[in-house]
């Protein structure tokens, strides 16, 4: 047992860190130094820079545009991206539908979609949830009926993150309502911009950003060649995709960054003749969270080490989502507390009233409430642990 990192990994981390510094355009750098809230255009600008370098999809196989890095290097790369506060890339193409197509797509589908996911020419979104199908996703009702070579789609999706920026949507649709509800679902790709009958209505999150949308389908016609996997086989696709979505969902690198910010805020907040960082109560709270995060990081390293030698992700990975998202929320709660009166501010409070590093905190604090809800809520995670790992009986 050892925790040491190889000289090669140390050098790699250094290389990545340096490259990010050199590659970041001035405007993005300025934002990274502040709150790091980016708009869609800035995200895509950064996407294209990574693409040009060949580093946009490290988790893809090398033949289709990946980097050929092992898990250890991918992990380091991910950590460095978060640490630099660079824009977070949209995950729907790169992390979700891309890997799924690589695994299950037809040669034509791969050729048609993968290059444009890589280049950022086409942006994707995820159409799973519906007003009446959240945690109980399999009860979804959006209908897909065959008509000639097409499917005709009718129904509604919701919480579709960044649908308003997307060119394509991957969705789960009901193709059979007769049997077990999991058995009548099909995985379909739709051109969300150019298909008549699809309407996207963005709405505000409590974070103050219009991160998600309602997406309506009214007799929207999509070719059957856009189906991934077999007809009625969508549930298997959804489960395979979920495995891709879960990696990194614990947000450990993000939490580290939040804790650094919290310390910075405390240091830069005057109290009497000193600073808030001299307050033992505040220091203890930060310390406790940082120490707990270290426990979780070790758990993540255990998971990585297992994956490195080709073992399937152990039961540990379910804990990463559960505990990781709770820690992430706590880190922003701590930042808010450290800000005192400044926590009353908002994204558009003037810089004279709200220091730049505090600008985005309240928005993130609100938005991160979602971390324990999406990707399978934490209650659902506990159900999974209880049933699949501990094998506790059902009532």
């Amino acid at each position: 047992m050892d925790l040491s990192v190889s000289p090669e990994q140390i050098a790699f981390r250094q290389e990545v860190r340096q490259w990010i510094q050199d590659a970041m355009p001035a405007d993005i750098k300025a934002k990274a130094a502040g709150g790091g809230h980016y708009d869609h255009e800035e995200q895509m600008e950064w996407h294209k820079i990574l693409y040009a370098k060949g580093w946009v999809a490290p988790q893809w196989p090398k033949e289709v545009g990946g980097t050929g890095w092992d898990i250890g290097k991918r992990h380091i790369f991910g950590e460095e991206l978060v640490r630099s506060n660079a824009p977070q890339l949209s995950p729907f193409g790169l992390m979700m539908v891309g890997p799924l197509l690589i695994q299950f797509g037809t040669p034509e589908q791969k050729e048609r979609f993968l290059p444009k996911i890589l280049s950022g020419e086409e942006v994707w979104c995820q159409g799973y949830s519906e007003p009446n199908a959240g945690s109980d996703l399999a009860s979804l009702q959006l209908r897909a009926e065959k008509d000639g070579d097409d499917y005709i789609l009718n129904g509604q999706k919701t919480w579709t993150t960044y649908a308003q920026h997307a060119d394509w949507i991957f969705l789960l649709a009901r193709t059979d309502a007769s049997g077990k509800k999991q058995d009548g679902i099909t995985f379909i790709l739709a051109d969300i911009k150019n298909t008549p009958g699809i309407t996207v209505k963005p709405f505000l999150t409590t974070g103050g950003t219009d991160a998600f949308s309602e997406t309506w389908f009214q007799n929207a016609r999509v070719p059957q060649s856009n189906r991934v996997g077999p007809e009625h086989g969508g549930w298997t696709m959804a489960k395979a995709l979920l495995a891709h979505e879960r990696t990194g969902i614990g947000g450990i690198a993000e939490s580290k960054r939040w804790l650094q910010l919290c310390k910075r805020i405390a240091r830069e907040t005057p109290v009497g003749k000193g600073s808030l960082f001299e307050d033992r109560g505040v220091r203890d709270r930060i310390a406790r969270l940082e120490m707990r995060l270290r426990s979780l990081e070790l758990l993540q390293l255990r998971t990585l080490a297992a994956a490195q030698v080709g073992r399937a992700p152990g039961p540990e990975s379910s804990i990463l989502k559960l505990v990781g998202t709770e820690i992430q929320q706590e880190t922003t709660e701590l930042c808010m507390d450290a800000m005192g009166h400044d926590a009353l501010g908002w994204l558009d409070s003037p810089p004279e009233a709200l220091p730049a590093i505090e600008q985005g905190v309240a928005s993130s604090f609100n938005y991160l409430r979602a971390a324990t809800i999406y990707g399978g809520s934490n209650e659902i995670q506990r159900n999974i642990i209880a049933k699949q790992i501990l094998r506790l009986p059902t009532a």
Binding site: D284, S295, E379
Partner: protein
């Protein structure tokens, strides 16, 4: 980065697990807790034969040159059977200091017999006012002829009631809170002027209150450099904290597994209580905390060998906090989910609960480790 056990480590773990299962189930502890000594010298001697008491010591010192991780793996398995033989006081505390500071003659005289399981040892550092601060020492050693005379009182000396030799921390110069001026002496358990009061503990194990009234020792009983004991002592206490995490993992794992088994077996309202979602979620959280404890227990065991003081302390404090916080979540809920029988002495869970609580309070509790952690220079830096 690698978390796999080596082949030798796996063999070691298996053999300790087998020993616990066959020779030292919890019933053995139940019998021992009613005895005066609280542990069994014959079993101790067997542990010596197995080589468990010497794994961490260098070969030149009569040990097997292993890493601290090896000892941690042994302790974890022993924790599952509440094995009461005094490995932490004898091997980690006193043995560790003898190996680090002792002369060849001192090692031969005091360390070798312990490694062979013929004697046991103890370390007396805590005092009534010291809480967890090793530097807070009022016991004094004064020059007497070529040797020393020790006077003072030591509390909660693990295995102090039975040890053949006790390492005593005493002040040879300076004020009671100074970092400099602390020295260690090897005192025989039956030395004249030493009163040992046996103190039964909550966990059924024993420690001692020591009164030293001018206990005389020769110059050859000074361990290490005069006045320079604090740094090695601090390192030893870090290793002891890591050892507490390791043994505690055994108890946590037992409590967790026993609780999950009980949730499947116990019925109320006509169904197994494990089908209630409120309890399922509690069990899921217990699982998460158990695995987090395992992660930090490994972390602490690896860090125990670090030379870099700050790095070692940061990791071990994080682990000790998790033992207290996460461990507490598991042990508290274990008793709760057992219901009434969870608080009966007949049921083993209460014994695990108590031992774990003792380990949580030894070598710095959660608050002490948080305080130490936030005081490390790295805590305020930007990386």
């Amino acid at each position: 980065m690698n978390f796999d056990l080596t082949e030798e480590q796996q063999i070691l773990v298996d053999s300790v697990a087998k020993f616990v299962q066959n020779d030292s189930p919890v019933e053995r502890f139940r019998k021992l807790r009613d005895t005066e000594r609280g542990w069994d010298p014959t079993t101790w001697a067997r542990m010596g034969e197995f080589g468990w008491l010497g794994v961490v010591f260098p070969e030149e010192h009569g040990g097997f040159g292993g890493q601290f991780v090896d000892l941690a793996l042994i302790l974890e398995q022993l924790g599952r059977g509440l094995v009461a033989e005094p490995l932490i006081p004898s091997v980690v505390l006193a043995g560790g200091l003898l190996s680090e500071l002792g002369t060849a003659a001192q090692r031969e005289q005091f360390l070798t017999p312990m490694i062979e399981g013929r004697t046991s040892l103890a370390l007396a550092y805590a005092e009534r006012q010291s809480r967890y601060s090793a530097n807070d020492c009022q016991t004094r050693a004064e020059k007497r002829g070529t040797g020393w005379a020790l006077s003072g009182e030591k509390t909660w000396v693990l295995n102090g009631h039975a040890a053949d030799q006790i390492l005593v921390l005493a002040r040879t110069s300076g004020d009671s809170l100074d970092a400099e001026g602390l020295s260690l002496f090897v005192v025989d358990g039956d030395a004249a002027g030493l009163e040992r009061i046996r103190v039964p503990g909550m966990d059924g194990q024993r420690s001692a209150l020591l009164r030293l009234r001018g206990v005389e020792v020769g110059a050859d009983r000074l361990l290490g450099e005069e006045g320079r004991a604090l740094l090695p002592l601090e390192r030893t206490l870090d290793r002891a904290a890591a050892a507490a995490c390791a043994e505690g993992q055994g108890e946590i794992q037992e409590l967790f597994e026993r609780t999950v088994a009980y949730l499947k077996q116990r019925s109320q309202f006509g169904v197994p209580i494990g089908s209630f979602q409120a309890l399922q979620h509690r069990a899921a959280d217990m699982y998460a905390e158990t695995e987090l404890c395992r992660s930090t227990m490994i972390l602490a065991a690896i860090a125990a060998d670090y030379e870099d003081r700050e790095k070692r302390q940061a990791e071990i404090s994080a682990a000790k906090l998790q033992l207290s916080r996460g461990g507490w979540f598991v042990q508290g809920n274990a008793i709760q989910l057992f219901g009434g029988i969870g608080v009966t002495d007949e049921q083993d869970e209460g014994l695990f609960f108590k031992r774990l609580r003792v380990l949580q309070g030894l070598f710095g509790d959660a608050d002490w480790h948080v305080a130490r952690y936030q005081g490390l220079p790295g805590f305020g830096s930007d990386e």
